[in-house]
């Protein structure tokens, strides 16, 4: 990750703007990350200020994939804090931009969740279901959204 992702100006600028970076060596004698148990590394997560983990990905990512995954994690942070407008900004960057990303279906799902919570309007969940069926029908997120077809 250092050689491929973290050393790029784009990623360093992104992290500096949106995140507080914390790196823990799992082999350190005084390792502080027991509560963030991981079965494999690199493991990259997004935490809130209480240390609650909101997003985790395993493995190596290109700079574009990393930024896309982090937009999703940052959106979940703001969704959790009920900052819906800011969550939507990050989800829309992911969905409307040219970021290389495999997490687009998850972003569609969480945009529906965010809009539902923002407007208290269940039709937003159904809209997300319909978009997933149309654009990402084979994704796990399309299956997870199936109950929303009944709304």
């Amino acid at each position: 990750m250092d050689a491929v992702t973290y050393s790029t100006e784009t990623v360093m600028g992104f992290i500096d703007k949106y995140l507080v970076p914390l790196r823990l060596n799992i082999l350190d004698e005084g390792y502080e990350g027991e509560e963030y148990h991981t079965i494999w590394t690199p493991a990259t997560g997004v935490l809130d200020h209480a240390g609650i983990e909101l997003q985790r990905v395993i493995g190596f990512f290109s700079p574009g994939e990393f930024i896309a995954e982090m937009h999703l994690g940052i959106a979940k942070y703001h969704l959790s804090a009920e900052n819906y407008d800011t969550a939507l900004v990050h989800l829309n960057v992911l969905l409307e931009g040219s970021l290389e990303c495999c997490s687009v279906p998850e972003a569609v799902y969480f945009r529906g969740v965010t809009l539902y919570k923002q407007k208290d309007d269940a039709s937003e969940l159904k809209n997300a279901y319909e978009e997933l069926q149309k654009k990402h029908p084979d994704s796990t997120w399309a299956k997870r959204a199936l109950p929303y077809r009944l709304l």
Binding site: Y18, V20, P21, N25, A43, V46, I74
Partner: protein, 32 residues
């Protein structure tokens, strides 16, 4: 090679997250 300026203490990073209203990027790594 320049890279990210990582915090290595959880409590410091969480305090900074609270004061800046930014989430924490957690990187768990094995140097071996």
């Amino acid at each position: 090679m320049s890279t990210v300026k990582w915090h290595t203490k959880t409590s410091y990073a969480l305090d900074k997250a609270l004061s800046t209203r930014k989430p924490v990027l957690l990187d768990l790594y094995n140097p071996e």
